[in-house]
């Protein structure tokens, strides 16, 4: 469960990114495709080469959704409701627990490369819990 302290740390951390959020989205996806090739199977229609516009565009979308979630930490279920439907009924990404775990890992690496030691163990813990909560919400309607 996200504590008040976790929520504060997440919002502070996100605030420190100074506009780099969109780049981070693309970078997280690039890292994910690189480290976990099976995740590419969900994007056969994409050009996944380095610097691809489609990856940038999708990264931007992902980050926008996370930004919205971060503004609504007290009600993730509602904030992510549309996305939850999308993932359950259209995209049917293999158990979100599985694939989001890879995206979560890569997002965290991307954040750590930008924040350095500001990506402290406490921030790391809060973000990990947040991504886990996001994955749970996205999985709510799977069956």
């Amino acid at each position: 469960m996200l504590t008040a302290e976790d929520k504060k740390l997440i919002q502070q951390m996100w605030g420190k990114l100074g506009g780099a959020e969109e780049e981070i989205g693309a970078e997280a996806l690039t890292r994910m495709f690189c480290s976990y090739p099976p995740t590419k199977t969900y994007f056969p229609h994409f050009d996944l080469s380095p610097g691809s516009d489609q990856v940038r565009g999708h990264g931007k979308k992902v980050v926008a959704a996370l930004s919205n979630a971060i503004k609504n930490l007290d009600n993730l279920s509602q904030a992510l409701s549309e996305l939850s439907n999308l993932h359950a009924y259209n995209l049917r990404v293999d158990p979100p627990r599985f694939s989001l775990q890879f995206l979560s890992q890569c997002l965290q690496v991307a954040l750590a490369t930008r924040l350095g030691k500001d990506y402290s163990p406490e921030v790391h813990s809060a973000v990990d819990k947040f991504m886990s909560a996001v994955a749970s919400v996205l999985a709510e309607k799977y069956r």
Binding site: A112, R114, S120, P121
Partner: protein, 147 residues
């Protein structure tokens, strides 16, 4: 048999040469205990683990983190024989320590994050991919002798 390309070996050794085994090991283990607090169950005799500050400053955590990462160094010297390198440790973790192998994956995942925070943008996607492969194989090797 696992295959390592020349580029992968270079990405591993290049990073490893610049790593402080003690610092990184301590940090990776501390992060494991902080981010996944249930892992503290294996360290009940480590003393004060009551807060992130206590964990980060705990000398037993530092010492054990160093031990763990030192064994990583051995793996890096023996990339073509990870199974052999970890055979004894695998038996130990199963028979004496009773550690669920899932925890090796969790600790393994801490390493790229620690490296990313240290090396920032030098920890490229290719670098991360190689290290994710390495920690995955180490976790697998550690689980291999479980019965």
């Amino acid at each position: 048999m696992v295959h390592w390309s020349a580029e992968e070996k270079q990405l591993i050794s290049g990073v490893w040469a610049k790593v402080s085994v003690e610092e990184c090991g301590a940090e990776a283990l501390a992060r494991l205990l902080i981010v996944y607090p249930w892992t503290q169950r294996f360290f009940s005799d480590f003393g004060n683990l009551s807060s992130p500050t206590a964990i980060v400053g705990n000398p037993k955590v530092r010492a054990h983190g160093k031990k763990v990462l030192t064994s990583f160094g051995e793996a890096i010297e023996n990339l073509d024989n990870l199974k052999g390198t970890y055979s004894r440790l695998s038996e130990l973790h199963c028979d004496k320590l009773h550690v669920d192998p899932e925890n090796f994956r969790l600790l393994g995942d801490m390493c790229p994050i620690v490296l990313a925070a240290h090396f920032t943008k030098d920890f490229t996607p290719a670098c991360q991919a190689t290290w994710q492969k390495l920690v995955g194989l180490v976790a697998h090797a550690l689980a291999r002798k479980y019965h």
